[in-house]
Symmetry: C2
Subunit: 218 residues, 2 copies
């Protein structure tokens, strides 16, 4: 039995590959592992059956035999630790890959999600317009530090790793905002990620879900 992941039946990003199931699909594709996807609705996500898998009522989840997981970072890391291809073998480099996984999800992603929240959840608030530059400033500060580290390298620390996979996906979430355009090396970095065959396969798979369920034009 292949592992089963959950994903949005109707992704709020309209098939742009920004939902967090994309990270798990991409990791599975990098490793050449088959998988199945169970699509769930916003309503189902908050029901007890799904909360038994994911206490916070979100996607993705991951089930593989006795292993049942939630949190995209945990799933990608678990895959990296149980299959070859996404983590270096040398112990010190393997440990550093952990640092980049957490940097992507706990240092770079939170201010990006803040901006998304401001644009979505606080859109109609009287302060929103005045507050956006503050949020953008926080993101730019982090991106500059990240670009300083990356320098002229292709990836964050030697060969492509789970840290790059998560970092690229986190940065892609900036796409709609245009904020990445002033950090050209990071734009190139995300493009390198998107050019990987495994990324393309994962992207096509989530895109197909959107297209299969999209209402037809009249």
């Amino acid at each position: 039995m292949p592992p089963v992941i959950t994903a949005f039946e109707r992704s709020p990003d309209r098939g742009q590959g920004l939902a967090r199931d994309m990270r798990v699909r991409w990791a599975l594709e990098e490793m050449g592992l088959p998988y199945e996807v169970r699509l769930i609705s916003f309503h189902e996500m908050k029901e007890p059956a799904h909360r038994a898998l994911h206490p916070f009522g979100q996607i993705p989840t991951f089930q593989d035999g006795a292993v049942a997981l939630f949190e995209s970072g945990a799933i990608v890391l678990h895959l990296g630790q149980t299959h070859p291809g996404l983590l270096p073998k040398e112990p010190a480099a393997r440990a550093r890959a952990l640092a980049w996984i957490f940097a992507a999800l706990t240092t770079i992603e939170p201010p990006i999600v803040d901006l998304q929240n401001a644009r979505l959840l606080e859109r109609d608030k009287p302060w929103n317009e005045a507050r956006l530059p503050l949020l953008e400033h926080r993101i730019h500060a982090r991106l500059s530090e990240l670009a300083d580290h990356l320098g002229e390298e292709d990836w964050l620390d030697g060969a492509f790793s789970a840290g790059d996979l998560l970092m690229v996906h986190v940065l892609l979430r900036l796409g709609p905002s245009g904020l990445l355009k002033t950090h050209l090396s990071l734009l190139d970095y995300t493009a390198r990620g998107q050019a990987r065959p495994a990324y393309r396969r994962a992207f096509a798979a989530q895109r197909a879900v959107w297209e299969a369920t999209a209402p037809q034009d009249p």
Copy 2:
């Protein structure tokens, strides 16, 4: 040579144990591992010498022989994976501990940091007062889900693990806000964490730093 971690020379929390070196100290104490602490100033944190260890110019960092790490989550996880005591041995339970580590740092902590940012960085903004209830609502929603999962158990998933260590520390950051007071089971949960001898030793060690460097009363 024991591992060396970095911590604030003058912690902005004034020795309350809320800075992120506390997580690493606690993990080291749980495992009974000796360690050394190198204290650094806010100025030094942003200098190239420290950025070579931590690209985002923060604390803590961790050096142990050939292993050099940043990100408190990565350090605690690395310690859990290289020494007994903070991760279950059974593979499925060990994988679930990963999920709780990421849940603490990527699902629970970001809205808590948002509230801290609002209180510190946006304190003087005209919108701050009106915006706080929105942030508190987001935190309460997550805490309710967490409390639902915890139920009457002592820890998140069987025995105390690195997931609990990080979750307790993340929740303690709510202390000054009083938001935890309406989630009694989580208040008890953090108290259980704080009662552990390893927590107490780690707390005392960071407290001693504050007291040693605090200006004397006139």
